[in-house]
Symmetry: C2
DNA sequence: AACCAATCTGGACGATGCTTAGATAACGCA
DNA sequence: TGCGTTATCTAAGCATCGTCCAGATTGGTT
C-alpha cells in the first residue's frame, strides 16, 4: 500500500475528502475525464477503492464536489475580468472572453461542471444568487444604465450565458483554426465572435 | 424491422449494422445515454456481445454512426424551418427555434452528437459543405443581402451556432421554468431569447 | 480504561469494453 | 453440383469499473 503521493500514511487519513477531490482534479488535468474512475481517484490518494464511500455517497457526489470548486474558480476568473476596465461595453466583452478562456484552460474541469449540470437539468443554485451567472447579469445591467426591465435583463443574461457556453464548448474545434489564424490568434477570434452577439441592441436603444 | 427479439433468427443476421444502430437509438430514447452500453445494444438486437465488433471497430464507432444519423435529421429539421416563411429575419429566428426544439425532442441523441464531437474536437465535416451549419450561414447571408464579407459571415454563423447550441443544452434547466411560464410557454421563451441575439446588427447597418 | 462511532481494508458481485478461438453459413468458382 | 474461401456469429475469458459488505483499526468521549 502507501502508493501515496508522499510517505506512509496512518490508517486514518486525516482529510480524505479534500485529498480525494484533489486527486480527482489531478487525474482530470493529466489524463482527462475518460480516465476519471473512482478507483483511480482512490489509488491516487493512496487509499483502498472503498474508502471514498465514507465521504461521498457515490461517484456522482464526488464529481459534484469537483464541479463546485470549478464553478467557484470560474467565479473568481469572471470577477477579475470584470474589474479589468471601466468601459461597460468592453467590460462585457472581457467577461465573455474570460469565460471561454477558463473553459479552454480547464477543459476537463469545465466538462465535469456541465456534465453534472445536465444530469441534474439545472445549473448550481448558488450561481443565481452570488455566482458567475450573477456577474454576467450585473454587467449587462450596467450596460443598460439600470433602465432595463427585469424580464429583458434575465433574457439578455440567458442569451449571453448560452452563447458563452456554446463558444466555450467549441473553441477548440478544428474547423475554427483557419479563422483564428486569419484574425491573429485565438483571443482576437473570441473578441470578433462576441462582437457579433448584440445582447445590447435593445438596451442601447433604450438609452438613446 | 423484425429485429428478432421474438422468433428464431438465422445464424447470420442479414443487416446487423442497421439493426445495431436502430437498437442503440431505441435504448437512447427509452433509457437515456447512461444505459447505452455495447452489450445492451447487442442484447436489444438479439445477438451476442461480441457480434457488433464485426461491424464497428469499437463503441465509439457505433456512436459515430448514431451521431451521423442525428446530424442528418437535424439537417432535415432546419430545412423545414427555413422554408417556413419568406421574411428573412423571421426565418433566422425560426431556424434557431427549430434547432433548439430538435435538441429538446431528442435530448439523448443530441447529447451523443456533441459528445462525439467533443471527443474529436471537431464538428462533422459534412456540416460545413452542405449540412446544418451551412443552412445557418446561408440564412444569415440572405439577411445581409449578399453584401457581407466572408469573414463577417463566418463569424456571425459561429456566433449563432454557439448561441443555439448553448441554449439547446440548457433549455431544460429548472432555473428557466418560471421565465418560460411568464412568457407563455417554451417556444415563446425561445423566441424571446433569440430576440436578444443580434447577429444582424452589423448586417442591417450595412444594408441601411 | 473502556467503549463508541468514524474511518479504512480486503474481498466480492455484477456489469462493462474488448479480445481470442472456434463454429456456422453464405458466396464464388470449379 | 460440390468445395473452399471468407464474412459473420458465439462462447469464453480478461481487466476494469461502481458499489456493497464484514471485519479491522483508530480517535474521541466518558
Amino acid at each position: 500500500m502507501s502508493t501515496a503521493t508522499a510517505e506512509s500514511r496512518p490508517y486514518h487519513h486525516g482529510d480524505l475528502s479534500r485529498a480525494l477531490v484533489d486527486a480527482a482534479r489531478k487525474i482530470l488535468e493529466t489524463d482527462g475525464p475518460a480516465a476519471l474512475s473512482l478507483r483511480a481517484v482512490a489509488r491516487e490518494a493512496g487509499v483502498s477503492p472503498a474508502a471514498p464511500y465514507h465521504h461521498f455517497k457515490d461517484k456522482a457526489e464526488l464529481l459534484e464536489a469537483v464541479a463546485h470548486e470549478g464553478w467557484h474558480e470560474l467565479d473568481v476568473a469572471l470577477s477579475t475580468a470584470r474589474a479589468s476596465t471601466e468601459d461597460p461595453r468592453a467590460r462585457m466583452t472581457n467577461l465573455g472572453v474570460a469565460y471561454v478562456c477558463f473553459a479552454r484552460d480547464n477543459p476537463a474541469l469545465y466538462r465535469v461542471m456541465y456534465d453534472r449540470s445536465r444530469d441534474k437539468d439545472a445549473l448550481p443554485d448558488q450561481l443565481k444568487d452570488d455566482g458567475a451567472y450573477c456577474q454576467v447579469r450585473d454587467t449587462i445591467n450596467e450596460n443598460g444604465g439600470g433602465h432595463v426591465s427585469d424580464i429583458d435583463l434575465e433574457l439578455a443574461t440567458i442569451a449571453a450565458w448560452c452563447a458563452g457556453h456554446g463558444l466555450a464548448e467549441m473553441i477548440g474545434f478544428k474547423q475554427f483554426a483557419p479563422l483564428k489564424e486569419l484574425l491573429g490568434g485565438e483571443e482576437a477570434f473570441l473578441r470578433a465572435v462576441f462582437e457579433h452577439l448584440g445582447m445590447f441592441a435593445k438596451f442601447t436603444a433604450i438609452q438613446d
